[in-house]
């Protein structure tokens, strides 16, 4: 029989990645520095790719001239109205599908049929329906936001443990109270994660809609800069769009922390 003697080695290492925020920031700074260095040394042609310093300078100039605020204001207004309209409608329909038998099958049929349509393809149709002005752009955003909101809301309502609803019923809670005190808070995590997805979708559709027949807006500005081969301004517009996305994500994170502290 073989003999065994010695300490037991620790075998449960790894598979537990940690988040180190400083490492993330350092990586971005290093990438920017490398990018700037590569351009300064002539490894990258600034005709095709701007430098971090060039982009920062373009943003500064746009801010000082007021052009940035004009385009940003127009984009944020469209984003807010379109996202809100799509979200409110999506929440109403999502809750209806999640709560009522009468709405479930018809609602699911409509959502299943329309959800896969690439929403950008509908921009020309919306221009025909709502004109080249704000209506078509807001409709594009709202339509794109509506379906994912419906699906997330419905999934959130479906995911509320039935045991909690039965508990509410056993305590004689009226229907409205069950929805307000049990279903809505129970569905909130899914709804808020849906908001993260819909803000990204809204930004993509915003740019697409603004590239078709808009004079103001970051999308229109990026297209115009591209037509002029103005790479600094083009990339400045992209950075601003990225900043809008980051700001929206930060705001949703704050809302999640405020409303979902119990998790």
């Amino acid at each position: 029989m073989p003999r065994l003697s010695g300490p037991i080695p620790f075998r449960a290492r790894g598979f537990a990645p940690r988040d180190v925020p400083a490492a993330g920031v350092a990586t971005l700074v290093a990438l920017l520095a490398l990018w700037q260095l590569a351009a300064s040394l002539g490894w990258i042609s600034t005709i095709f790719l701007s430098t971090p310093a060039g982009i920062a300078g373009a943003i500064r100039d746009l801010a000082l001239s007021g052009e940035l605020w004009m385009h940003l204001g127009a984009s944020l207004q469209r984003l807010a109205i379109g996202w809100l309209a799509g979200t409110v409608a999506g929440l109403v329909v999502g809750f209806a599908i999640g709560l009522f038998t009468l709405a479930r099958s018809p609602g699911m049929a409509v959502v299943s049929a329309f959800f896969p349509i690439p929403k950008i393809a509908l921009v020309p149709l919306f221009i025909i329906w709502f004109g080249i002005g704000e209506g078509s752009k807001i409709a594009t955003l709202a339509f794109g936001v509506f379906f994912p909101t419906v699906i997330n809301t419905m999934a959130g309502v479906d995911g509320v443990p039935r045991g909690l609803i039965r508990m509410g019923q056993s305590f004689g809670l009226p229907w409205r109270s069950i929805v307000r005190k049990i279903v809505l808070p129970g569905a909130l995590p899914a709804i808020l994660s849906g908001f993260r997805i819909t803000t990204s979708i809204a930004i993509v559709l915003l740019v697409a809609a603004e590239m078709i027949g808009a004079e103001k807006g970051i999308g229109a500005f990026v297209l115009s800069a591209g037509n002029l081969y103005d790479v600094d301004n083009l990339m400045a517009g992209i950075v601003v769009l990225s900043a809008i996305g980051l700001a929206a994500s930060w705001l949703i994170g704050r809302i999640e922390r405020a409303l979902l502290g119990w998790r």
């Binding site: 909690l164 039965r166 508990m167 305590f171 809670l173």
Partner: protein, 260 residues
């Protein structure tokens, strides 16, 4: 707390799931203030019967009635304590207890006082602002019991309330539960698969046969539940008797599960 004077009666209860008969011809009567315990092998329909008694499940046949006087401060004649606690994770301990009182005519000040009283009764006063996730299993179930008792129910239905707890917590909470039930004087229907628990808490122990569940035998323990101990020879004898009644059915139910 005002004593309940409600009798809970079930007559000719039968129920089937997708054609599979689960309960047949169940007759029960729980006199005011008495603790009825339902025991039986796995799958005999104990929880289904409790659901029917509580109006959470419509039986295929038979009827359930409440008869008697309801105390003036009773806000809901019939409440539940759930096996999985059924606490709202987004509400604090006090918020969960308050839930049962919020849609009643109780004014806010009286509601707060009632919540404080229930926290005191269940030893949770220091945890009023804690989230459910911060509590142990035993404490969570105390919240469930406090919530159920907050409305001063006439009848309390308890579906394996201690089965999700470890043995030590279960033992401690059994004693607390016995004291709380005795003090409140509420009529109780209690489901458990733990025979020692049945002997410790039951005044009327209904033994159900394996599926379809029928009343096989009813044992009575004519002693108040307050002061009972798990080591009492009479209660140990009841436990043995219960096991004798259930053993063959439990083994057969187990074999059925294996075959399925």
């Amino acid at each position: 707390m005002t004593a309940s004077s409600i009798r809970l009666e079930a007559r000719g209860i039968r129920h089937a799931y997708r054609g599979l008969s689960v309960l047949e011809g169940i007759d029960l009567s729980v006199p005011p203030g008495e603790v009825l315990v339902l025991v039986g092998p796995s799958g005999c329909g104990k929880s289904t019967l409790l659901g029917i008694l509580g109006g959470m499940l419509a039986p295929d046949g038979g009827s359930v009635r409440l008869d008697g006087e309801v105390a003036p401060d009773c806000l809901n004649p019939l409440t539940y304590v759930f096996q999985d606690f059924a606490l709202l994770p987004w509400r604090t301990v006090a918020g969960n207890i308050s839930l049962a009182l919020e849609d009643t005519a109780l004014p806010p000040a009286a509601r707060r006082a009632r919540v404080a009283e229930m926290l005191e009764l269940t030893g949770l006063s220091r945890f009023a602002d804690a989230w459910p996730k911060q509590l142990s299993g035993g404490m969570r179930q105390r919240v469930g019991i406090a919530r159920a008792l907050a409305v001063r129910p006439a009848v309390l239905l308890m579906d394996e309330p201690l089965s999700a707890l470890d043995a030590q917590t279960r033992g401690l909470l059994q004693d607390e539960l016995a004291a709380i039930i005795a003090r409140s004087g509420v009529t109780v229907a209690y489901v458990t698969h733990n025979l020692a628990e049945a002997a410790l808490l039951g005044q009327q122990i209904v033994v159900l046969s394996r599926r379809p569940g029928r009343v096989r035998e009813i044992l009575r323990i004519d002693r108040p539940i307050a002061g009972r101990t798990a080591t009492d020879p009479d209660l140990l004898a009841v436990e043995t008797r219960l096991w004798d009644l259930i053993r063959a059915d439990a083994a057969e139910a187990d074999r059925e599960l294996e075959r399925a």
